[in-house]
Point group: C2
Chain length 135, copies 2
């Protein structure tokens, strides 16, 4: 686990997120977890999600700049996001098999407007800085 102490809050947050297939916002997840732990705070939800993201157990999805949505689905898969309501659905299968294929998305009932292939990494400047400051 990505933390030093396993608390009730963290256990429940991860359980509930894994059960929700809908990639909820922090607020939606907080509402859901509150059914089991009524006094849990939104701050704890954010802190836990951040540590799960750093550990690679959760991905942040959604539109750049807009409210975050959280995905605890394992494995290599893509997403389809609704430009109107922000909803995000999963696409099965490895990323590089799908870039040119709209079929799976259309089967979900979406009209496809755009395909994006994006990489995430560490840029040269930040790599250098990290080497200097001690890796």
């Amino acid at each position: 686990m990505p933390w030093e102490r396993t608390t009730k809050q963290r256990t429940v947050i991860l359980e509930e997120l894994r059960e929700m297939r809908s990639h909820p916002t922090a607020d939606e997840l907080h509402e859901r977890v509150r059914l089991r732990l009524p006094r849990i705070s939104l701050g704890t939800v954010y802190r836990t999600l951040e540590s799960l993201e750093r550990a690679g157990m959760v991905r942040v999805v959604g539109h750049p700049g807009s409210q975050r949505r959280f995905d605890a689905t394992g494995g290599d898969h893509g997403h389809i996001r609704c430009i109107r309501c922000g909803r995000v659905d999963d696409l099965a299968g490895p990323a590089d098999a799908r870039a040119g294929d709209d079929g799976a998305v259309e089967r979900l009932g979406y009209v496809v407007l755009e395909r994006r292939v994006d990489f995430v990494g560490i840029c040269p400047a930040c790599r250098e800085k990290e080497e200097r400051d001690g890796s």
Copy 2:
């Protein structure tokens, strides 16, 4: 053009964004535009960028939940985003040619952590609603 009236502000915003290759934040673009139009407000920059996005002339890039960055580069191309500093660089070439190839990214000096293939569209529920309300 995506607006009804062509003003000095809109002209300059689009010109400067096209000249900046760095995918600036709204604030950075505002600073830059202010050199030519000292009284322009940040609100106008946001309103103009929003209308350019709706018109398909600008793409929003960056990490969900973090500050937006704006891309006026034409054509089908992907992005590589630095997980540390948020910087975003362009990748040349059509989406489906890039999905499985880290070479171009590594040549820019990035360490690749993740590849994402994401679609953008309109979900079934929103399509229905739009048909009801009058297309």
